[in-house]
Subunit: 338 residues, 2 copies
DNA sequence: CCTATTTCCGAAAACGTTTTCGATAGATTC
DNA sequence: GAATCTATCGAAAACGTTTTCGGAAATAGG
């Protein structure tokens, strides 16, 4: 059906070797024959079969994006979608294809990572949404296949990661609250199996202590990044401390849940409670009041991840950590402590 | 590096033909040798090279998802992400891989559709976010490669589409408004190059006329599905009709933009203006007041699309239209006409 | 025991490329 | 004019599978 290199060779009166040479920009081919071949290629509408090429070159020009529980997490898309866009754009710019896989903790137990990638024949893999205790996490860095992790700070010779500077992000949030005069500041964190949770906790603590306030573990609640966790966490924290005037949330979704919750209680935000979120998802600016938050450059994260992966697999760089700066976006849910 | 079928054959003391046979469930192989081969496969950790298989079988077990302007449209993810999840899940369940492509109207002009798919060697393609006037639209249905379009009602022997019943959806919205006693009902539609816009307009008109109200083109405004279009459209419609009491929007984002806009004007929703959106994106239930809307089964759309595509390419069905029922979700932005 | 039928298995072609190695012819050098 | 060099090209192997075709061994039938 489709013309092959053989058809082109025959029509141009040369060998397939020569056709291959002109298509791959080799220099040792006579300009005249090059022109002739090119003309035939054009006429026949010849397109190289990428499968055949992959087989002989032993690379597919394809990278895999494996995301854990793509469709499970309701919160997922706010964060993931933009990262995905960044990845997709950069991958495409660099001439690769992107194939999407979703996996789950249970699926990971069944199929070892290497089985997975060897069968799929991807040149490299990007991972997102993975937990520290997921089986793949450590298999990935140990494997020889180039990879980059998103929000899991592990590197190896062939494994990069990209993440936001979560420590700085949390510090910015807390310092903002401190400047406003708050001193009893709660923290509704994500689950402990996310690396970002540990980092944000660290930033929370550092900022507090730098402000001369002792760190109190009772002030932090561990949620799961979802909306309801924000409400539950806030309720819990408020029951522990009746002088709570501000809460920092590890996700905008949780901040939003808390906002709705305290508003239902008849409290006013920010007058009675200051709230700071994390991520700067679109929702944050649509709430009433608009949520003060720490912005992550999600699209950039995707681009950087794709870029680094491809540089690794083209042997232009080694695995490294890429940390993007966050940005404090002050909106309407924070006010001076009265 | 990786063991090949040849290694397995040698280690098992059989020919590669036999190995291939046991791996592909052929019946004519002695149970003893089958067991022996299987054991060796296990020991060596042999995984078939899917590229080699693709080459000889002339199919890749891969489907492409091409989406127009993936990262351009800010509104995109609300709708697309869930469809993507549905597609991804179903594709994976059926044993295929999903490769993601984003394209744009300009990119489509450069590369004809068939060039695109022939080079990528996908077995079939799903298209989403494409416009009626995009070059690919008609190339797709004309092509012999199995495909399914999302929200573009065109079919062929090898091309299905899946869509929501937009006529019914719009009717439900308008009937709801009519029941509440509204009679001057505006419609902020999407752009005319979306098939869904035409259908929703038709539903709007049918419901109105069934209610004994003449259709007035002046009551419809064409936006672009984005938030600001909702505000602009509402302003325009209100300037044309000072007795406007309700507006129907072709997307929740536009409804949301309108909601914010009229609230800023000091109007109350739903007391002064009733609003109905479309899609039921997550945002709709988070607004204050919560937006009444027409729900689309996005995840189901994705699943159905994937399912139909694969059935077509496995020759179990022909191209057909798949229309999913919408659902009216009455919330807080609609009230009786006072 | 001889033939006919099954059952089981292997040799080899094929898929469409890239790449190695060498061949040829003309140009250059001395 | 022989030797060397350079530019240009082709034959063939290789990548790892699937599949066709046929052959040998085992079984069945008479």
């Amino acid at each position: 059906m489709n013309p092959t290199i053989k058809d082109v060779a025959k029509a141009a009166g040369v060998s397939i070797t020569t056709v291959s040479r002109v298509l791959n920009q080799y220099s040792d081919v006579n300009p005249k024959t090059r022109a002739k071949v090119l003309k035939v290629v054009e006429q026949l509408g010849y397109k190289p079969n990428s499968v055949a090429r992959s087989l002989v070159m032993n690379r597919t020009n394809t990278v895999g994006l494996v995301v854990s529980d793509l469709s499970r997490s309701r919160n997922g898309h706010h964060f993931m979608f933009e990262v995905l866009c960044g990845i997709n754009d950069r991958v495409q710019e660099l001439g690769y294809d992107l194939v999407l896989f979703s996996t789950s903790t249970t699926a990971q137990k069944k199929t070892p990572y290497m089985d997975f990638v060897r069968q799929r024949r991807v040149d490299g893999v990007l991972m997102m949404g993975i937990r520290l205790d997921d089986p793949y996490t450590h298999e990935v860095v140990a494997a020889s296949v180039p990879s980059v992790l998103i929000d899991v700070p592990l590197t190896s010779q062939t494994c990069s990661y990209v993440s936001t500077d979560n420590i700085a992000g949390a510090r910015m949030a807390i310092e903002h609250l401190l400047e406003l005069g708050h001193s009893r500041i709660g923290f509704v964190n994500g689950h402990a199996q996310a690396a970002v949770s540990q980092e944000r906790l660290q930033g929370y603590r550092m900022a507090l202590e730098a402000g001369g306030i002792a760190y109190d573990p009772q002030l932090v609640y561990y949620g799961n990044f979802e909306q309801e966790d924000g409400a539950i966490g806030t309720a819990e924290l408020r029951s522990r401390f009746d002088d709570l005037t501000a809460v920092f949330f590890a996700s905008d979704l949780m901040a939003l849940g808390a906002l709705k919750y305290v508003q239902n209680l008849g409290l006013r935000v920010p007058e009675n409670l200051s709230i700071v979120g994390f991520d700067d998802i679109e929702l944050a600016a649509l709430m009433q009041p608009m949520i003060t938050t720490v912005r992550q450059k999600r699209y950039e994260m995707g681009r950087s991840a794709a870029e680094s992966l491809i540089r690794i697999l083209e042997q232009q760089e080694q695995g490294r950590g890429i940390i993007l700066p966050p940005e404090l976006v002050v909106r309407e849910t924070t006010a001076p402590h009265s």
